[in-house]
Amino acid sequence: MKEFILYTGCTTPVRLPAYERAVEVVLEKLGVKLTTMKDANCCGAQYIESVNHVAYSAMSGRILAIAESMDMDILAICGACSGSLKHVKHELDNNKELRNEVNDILEEEGLKYTGTVEVKHLLQIFREDIGYDAIKSAVVNPYKDVRLAAHYGCHVTRPEEIVHVDDAENPTIIDRIIEAVGGIPVDYTGKTRCCGGPLLAMDEEVANAIGRDKIENIRAENADGIVTACVFCDIQLTQVQFGEGSNDKPKIPVITLPQFLGPAIGIDFNSLGIHLNKISPEAILEAH
């Protein structure tokens, strides 16, 4: 049985706890064991990253070092976390000076970064460690006649040469999983574009316009739902369908990938926290 240490990041447990739970139950069912990282900290993405590069590197470096001390590779389920951990790992592996600086900071806690663990995003676990065939053969309750639009998230797939998740300009992992469980993956205009989320702090209007543009492009292809692989994207694509500036067209449910996958492999809604989704995806998840 494969085993990973789950780094949940800050946002998932607080704002999208159902995603965290769904990851755990789905991966367990598919034969991947997870241990949750204890005493973890924020990865430092964007917020600290924009202020102090060494501090940022030390924050992500600490996560990497904790995983090293437990001798397990990391599973990250948030686009920003997976992006930061992979970036910092890349830098620490290639920049000796920065590595020494970070290790000086980590030494206080008796931690050290040496570069022995890998960081994987959830999509990689599905493709590399479980595989499409295994997902397919785990299906007990395949979907039928349901059209899903995949949203990958910028930091999940970019920059391709550092994160090594999928082809950044033509990603396919989510689509192939949708297909494997009987859904119909729907291509749409601007599939690899940003959800707008990271801009919220600077310019809410622009951020929401980007998100709504995405929703309308998906609506144009008559998709029944949107499948995500990043907590920020999921929240952003949901919230732009509410409040000022949103239209009164029917809302399109936004579902995290494990929540969509779960019912097909025989996991009940309750274990996946489906009732916590702001736009109910039940109509989609019951389309068998």
Binding site: D167, E169, N170, T189, A220
Partner: protein, 432 residues
């Protein structure tokens, strides 16, 4: 005095190689012209019109094809490749692999009866895969030599062509042959290839049927092309009313390993934009460019004419993305107009990408065989950028055309003549 080297090898039968071969042959020396494909003519044979005069490309090229093939001092070796090379200036020994054509060159008259009876249709590489050809074929109507070729990969050995050939020219048991040439000098004129624009998924080539590249456009507007010169969309056969040309794709892009300017894309696209309006004066034609490089003789005037007389609209900005309406297959180009600093969304029926130019495949092995150097970009390195534009580091080996960097037709021809001059200096002095 050493043995008088009286012959030359020219590798590549495009316009540069042809010019070099003619200029050497006309001075009384023997020339072997080796070409990988079944016909000489190269890229120029695929083009519809030329810039900046809008001359018909075939009309100015085909007389040259005949001149080369009928020249008593030129021996054409098509469907042939260079093997090992030994020796030095004045005395090279070059092994040539003459691939089996399955049609005897001494017997075939090019009548085409075989082709008419061949039941196999495959995508025509000469038409960039848009049209079809048969499994026994001539690359284009004026293919030179006008001898048919059997594409064994796709041939079903049905035997119809063999039966119908009155001259018994088809020999399905033909084998590759190897010949060794003694030559005093070698000219490399191996040409170029287009950058693989699927490396820009955001521009939609390969995903959207109505995003094509410039060479496909050339074949679509060509009377001998797959549509007999009707410019239509590949998705539904409709005439495009609005066409966008996207510049600098696979050129001047450090991230894609092509930092250099391809030199020809600005002008061929302006020419293609003008040709689109010649085909349909009511159409709207847009060109999205980084900056227009119209440096050659008559180029700037041609650019001005495209704007003022033909009404081609030029937008300065590198295109960010091409989007497609999934049902209509119509396209939207997203671009920042850097003159007005506004992001624009412009609808088109057809988008034509202008790919940059890269060294031809096999350049690395060719350079190794000859012992010549390549630049970081993969082209052949010339010995001196001012005084040795056709000279390589190996004495007796010269280069012309796009083998040492992107060139337009006039520059390729000049380089062909220049290389021929360098080559004949060696031949005239008996190989020294």
């Amino acid at each position: 005095m050493t043995k008088k080297a009286s012959s030359a090898l020219v590798v590549g039968g495009g316009v540069a190689g042809m010019q070099a071969a003619l200029d050497i042959a006309n001075q009384g020396f023997k020339v072997y012209l080796v070409e990988r494909s079944p016909s000489i003519g190269g890229r120029m044979a695929m083009l519809d019109k030329t810039f900046p005069t809008l001359d018909c490309s075939a009309c100015i090229l085909t007389p040259k094809l005949s001149e080369v093939s009928r020249h008593p001092n030129i021996q054409l070796m098509t469907l042939s490749e260079v093997g090992s090379v030994t020796g030095s200036a004045g005395d090279f020994k070059v092994k040539i692999r003459r691939k089996a054509r399955y049609v005897r060159e001494d017997l075939c008259s090019g009548c085409g009866d075989c082709e008419a009876n061949c039941p196999v249709e495959v995508a025509n590489e000469f038409d960039q895969g848009i049209g079809f050809r048969k499994a026994i074929y001539a690359l284009f109507p004026q293919a030179t030599p006008h001898i048919y070729t059997v594409d064994k990969e796709n041939c079903t050995d049905c035997g119809r062509c063999v039966k119908v050939c009155e001259r018994n020219a088809i020999d399905m048991n033909m084998k590759d042959k190897f010949v060794t040439l003694d030559v005093g000098t070698i000219i490399v004129a191996t040409g170029f290839e287009l950058f693989d624009i699927t490396q820009y998924p955001r521009l939609g080539y390969g995903q959207y049927p109505n995003v094509i590249h410039a060479m496909e456009f050339e074949r679509l507007i060509n009377a001998a092309g797959p549509t007999h010169g009707h410019l239509v969309r590949l998705s539904d056969g409709k005439k495009p009313k609005s066409i966008g040309f996207i510049q600098c794709v696979g050129a001047r892009d450090v991230q894609k390993g092509v930092p250099y300017c391809s030199r020809v894309c600005c002008m061929y696209s302006i020419k293609n934009a003008v040709m689109a309006l010649e085909h349909d004066p009511q159409a709207e034609v847009w060109v999205y460019y980084a900056d227009i490089r119209a440096f050659g003789k008559g180029f700037e005037e041609f650019y001005e004419m495209a704007k003022s007389r033909f009404g081609v609209r030029f937008v300065r900005g590198r295109v960010a993305e091409v989007m497609e309406g999934k049902a209509s297959h119509d396209l939207v180009v997203k671009v920042e107009d850097t003159v007005t600093s506004k992001v624009r969304l412009i609808e088109h029926d057809l988008v034509v990408i202008s790919p940059g130019v890269i060294p031809s495949s096999g350049m690395d092995t060719m350079a190794k065989k000859l012992g010549i150097d390549q630049t970081d970009d993969g082209y052949i390195e010339i010995s001196h950028s001012f005084f040795g534009p056709t000279v390589t580091k190996i004495p007796g080996v010269f280069v012309c055309g796009c083998a040492d960097g992107p060139k337009d037709i006039p520059d390729s021809v000049s380089a062909g003549s220049a290389a021929a001059m360098k080559a004949t200096i060696i031949l005239s002095s008996g190989g020294k």
